[in-house]
């Protein structure tokens, strides 16, 4: 499928020039076209923030909901229509801060969705405050003496919860990131892509140079089914590993386990009430 099919035409994009989000948008379109996913079958779900605007910039079905609440909506969309490809995409503040509880429980629930988190370690839309992943010492208009909180480690949390698929990518590495997102979408079950990218306006500390110097790729010899090793790499902070950290081969997607699909494979919108059964249920109350 030609990547042009996702083009929106002439639209006004709200990102700053040079923002890592532009590469992410291009990578996403390329990945989707390589996977032959038709826009009508794709649902992009997001919350609020600069990253959460991504769904508006490509042709797809869109559920742009509330701040932090993309994952519950995405889970339910996939649950009621398993034929849809569902991607929940937002930023680090949205997914790890406001929506932190949903992040935990969506991993436990394991719906077959891809969760792309633009992680630039800063709040963009609200103008430069710390995000849950901001590094200690990072000064902002609110954290005036620098961040004093321990940064949130989404990969360690996800691996700790036995997540189905856990990865980290960096937006400037377009080729590698495309491969990671592709595998995440193809994976059956919840797939996390923690996607590092520079914020050229509000994060002058974690700039392109910093990301280059402080990241490395998990090599070919790395075994993503080894959870202990995955956890070891996830808590590494001197240099941040990139690649697929962990794949839980035993996990089964949430919607595959639902009894609503036991006898009937159709999506929910194609179903009707069985009034005979309801009548039987009502009649059972006579006894």
């Amino acid at each position: 499928m030609d990547a042009k099919i996702y083009e929106m035409g002439k639209i006004d994009i709200a990102w700053c020039p040079g923002c890592g989000n532009f590469s992410i948008l291009k990578i996403l379109k390329d990945t989707l076209s390589e996977l032959d996913i038709a826009p009508e079958k794709l649902v992009m779900v997001s919350g609020i923030g600069q990253a959460a605007k991504t769904p508006h910039y490509l042709r797809a079905n869109v559920f742009n909901g509330l701040h932090g609440r993309a994952l519950p909506a995405a889970t339910a969309i996939k649950a009621v229509n398993r034929d849809l490809v569902v991607i929940a995409e937002s930023g680090d503040g949205d997914m790890y801060g406001e929506g932190g509880n949903h992040f935990i429980h969506t991993i436990r629930r394991n719906p077959d969705i891809t969760n792309i988190v633009h992680n630039n370690m800063v709040y963009g839309l609200t103008k430069g405050q710390a995000s849950p992943t901001s590094l200690k010492g990072f000064k902002t208009p609110v954290q005036v003496n620098g961040v004093i909180l321990e940064p949130f480690n989404p990969l360690a949390v996800a691996i700790g919860l036995g997540a189905s698929f856990v990865s980290r990518a960096y937006s400037d590495d377009m080729k590698e990131t495309k491969e990671i997102i592709k595998k995440a979408i193809q994976h059956k079950g919840y797939a996390l892509v923690d996607l590092l990218h520079p914020c050229v306006t509000f994060n002058r500390f974690n700039d392109r140079k910093w990301f280059k110097e402080n990241t490395y790729y998990l090599g070919e010899e790395y075994d993503p089914t080894d959870r202990n090793e995955a956890f070891k790499r996830a808590i590494q902070t001197d240099k941040l590993p990139l690649g697929i950290f962990y794949i839980n081969k035993e996990s089964m997607p949430f919607e595959e386990k639902l009894t609503a699909y036991k006898k009937n494979k159709k999506p929910m919108f194609e179903r009707e009430v069985d009034f005979q059964k309801l009548s039987n249920l009502i009649e059972s109350k006579r006894k």
């Binding site: 509330l66 609440r69 339910a76 249920l281």
Partner: protein, 567 residues
């Protein structure tokens, strides 16, 4: 008419609910009209809880204060219900629980008799037996219920319980004979075949009838029963029932499910609903249908978790930032509970708005007899369209309803956004368009207003005094007025509280005096009426101690108002 009120009172964990469950079934099968309601503390063991079972030879559906017979299960019981017993209350139970508490105490050592039948654990069955014996139920009915109730247990336990039931039964029979007690209750054939349902059953079955195939909720009293009911039926009716990590998750799941074509609901109570409020507002701007069952309990905050109140009406009405239409039902009559719970799903889909069904602990936890539920006239419509390439989710239409597409159904794209959006659904800050789309959303209210459930007038059409109530107080007010036999007073019952029916003003201005009866402290429905019609309600009768109104209480309050008037 004869009417007996039996109150069983004891600690949580002593099996009051089991006794209630078996007894109500047995008494119905025996041919009595029954109604039961329960009040309990927010704890799993201990405390003092009570259940009232009303038995009558005519239909009864409301709580009464009087206690004709009390079965205390522990030493605190008599104290707990002392406000509703008198010297004539028959008390049956262990000597130390009842001694000297009334003129008519009858010692029956339930545990000791149970032990004689094989185990102390059968004490509740002895109780059931005593009451069945006193009310002249055939023992074969008792036996078959015991058999059915314990069918999953082994034969020894079943036999032991039957033996225990018989011991109690014989004592009950002897009691009425020797003491010349005559309840004077007539049995009727027709009632034997009635449905025995709780408010929770009616909301849940109504939801199934409305095509509900997705429920996401977080457990919270008294709303949990609906989640439990639908979870139990998930395989039979192909329902996705998910316990969410929070109410915030629950409402956002429901909206995601509805966006993708499910008929989705959440069930919650005040505190949980408070967490859902941002989601409610999201439903408003997305125009994604959702049904919210709001089971009220007393607040603020955690309040009285297991008790009843009608304190969230104005909260439900104003919940959610921004302006958008909504529908609020407040059924009180059993058929309305079923029908409106079903209709909520139809209207949510038809108008693409949130529909709130307001109930409360009293309604949900009470058991009613219903002759039947008619499904023959029910048809659910399909309100979404197959999209084409040029589909726009928020097309500006004359009536405000934009044809609703479902992702994956048709060639179009379905874009919904919590930001203000253009016709396609994408973010916009075109401020001229903003006015247009706000108007579009609000225009739906005009359509909604064409389908408001009218209030029901009970009593003399040429009333002088008009009593107004909404939701669960229906039966209680109705019975109170019947007993008052005051031809000048009529009752106007509201099952839909928003939008308010346009006839309201006409009804109110016709009366010389208007009285609102509400289970809250501030007369919230009166305020809503004032806001919508400009008419002041003359007198409120309010109750907010966590218990429902009793029939006698309403009679007393109405008489007091009349007396004051006369002075």
């Amino acid at each position: 008419m004869s009417d007996v009120s039996i109150v069983i009172c004891g600690e949580a964990g002593q099996g009051i609910q089991t006794v209630e469950k078996i007894l109500t079934s047995i008494l119905k099968t025996a041919g009595y009209y029954i109604f039961s309601s329960t009040e309990f503390m927010s704890r799993i063991r201990g405390g003092s809880n009570s259940t009232e079972i009303r038995i009558s030879d005519v239909p009864v559906n409301s709580f009464v204060e009087k206690t004709d017979m009390l079965i205390p299960f522990d030493s605190k019981a008599v104290e707990h219900v002392k406000w509703r017993i008198d010297k004539d209350t028959i008390m049956i139970g262990k000597k130390e629980f009842i001694e000297g508490k009334s003129k008519r105490t009858f010692e029956v050592p339930f545990s000791k008799l149970a032990e004689e039948a094989g185990s102390k654990l059968y004490a509740n069955t002895v109780t059931v037996g005593v009451i069945a014996g006193m009310l002249e139920v055939d023992f074969s009915t008792v036996e078959s219920f015991i058999r059915n109730f314990f069918r999953k247990k082994d034969e020894k336990i079943i036999d032991g319980n039957i033996k225990a039931g018989r011991k109690g039964y014989e004592i009950g029979e002897k009691l009425i004979k020797e003491n010349k007690i005559d309840f004077n209750l007539k049995k009727s054939e027709e009632v034997k075949d009635y449905l025995l349902v709780s408010g929770t059953d009616l909301v849940s079955m109504g939801a199934i009838g409305g095509g509900c195939n997705f429920i996401s909720s977080y457990p919270m009293s008294p709303s949990t029963g609906v989640l439990t009911f639908l979870s139990k039926q998930q395989e039979e009716f192909e329902i996705i029932a998910e316990q969410a990590e929070s109410e915030i998750s629950a409402i956002n799941m429901a909206l995601g499910a509805s966006y993708a074509g499910a008929r989705a609901m959440v069930t919650t109570s005040g505190g949980g609903f408070a967490l859902m409020v941002e989601g409610l507002s999201l439903a408003g701007i997305l125009e994604t249908p959702v049904v919210i069952h709001l089971a009220q309990r007393p607040g603020p905050a955690t309040g009285l978790p297991t008790r009843t109140e009608q304190g969230d009406l104005l909260f439900a009405l104003f919940a959610g930032h921004g302006e958008f239409p909504r529908i609020i039902f407040a059924p009180g009559k059993t058929e309305d509970v079923f029908n409106l719970s079903r209709k909520a799903f139809e209207l949510a889909d038809k108008f693409q708005v949130p529909v709130i069904i307001m109930t409360d602990q009293y309604l949900l936890d009470s058991s009613f007899l219903v002759p039947s539920i008619d499904l023959s006239k029910i048809r659910n419509e399909e309100y979404f369209v197959k999209t084409d390439k040029n589909y726009k989710r928020y097309r500006l239409t004359e009536d405000g309803i934009s044809p609703r597409g479902i992702p994956g159904y048709g060639e179009g794209l379905v874009v919904v956004d919590s930001d203000e959006h253009d016709e396609e659904g994408h973010i916009t800050e075109d401020l001229d368009f903003r006015t247009k789309i706000v108007d579009k959303r609000l225009r739906k209210l005009d359509l909604i207003k064409k389908e408001i459930e009218p209030p029901e007038l009970i009593g003399n059409k040429n009333y002088k005094i008009l009593v107004i109530g909404w939701g669960s107080t229906y039966y209680c007010i109705k019975e109170a007025l019947e007993k008052l036999e005051d031809n000048q007073t009529a009752f106007l019952y509201y099952k839909q509280v928003y939008p308010l029916h346009p006839d309201t003003k006409k009804y109110l201005t016709k009366a010389e005096k208007t009285i609102v009866i509400e289970n809250n402290a501030t007369g919230q429905f009166a305020k809503l009426i004032k806001m919508e019609t400009g008419v002041n309600i003359d007198k409120p009768i309010l109750k907010y101690n966590g218990l429902p109104f009793g029939v006698e209480e309403i009679i007393r309050e109405l008489k007091a108002i009349k007396r004051k008037e006369a002075k």
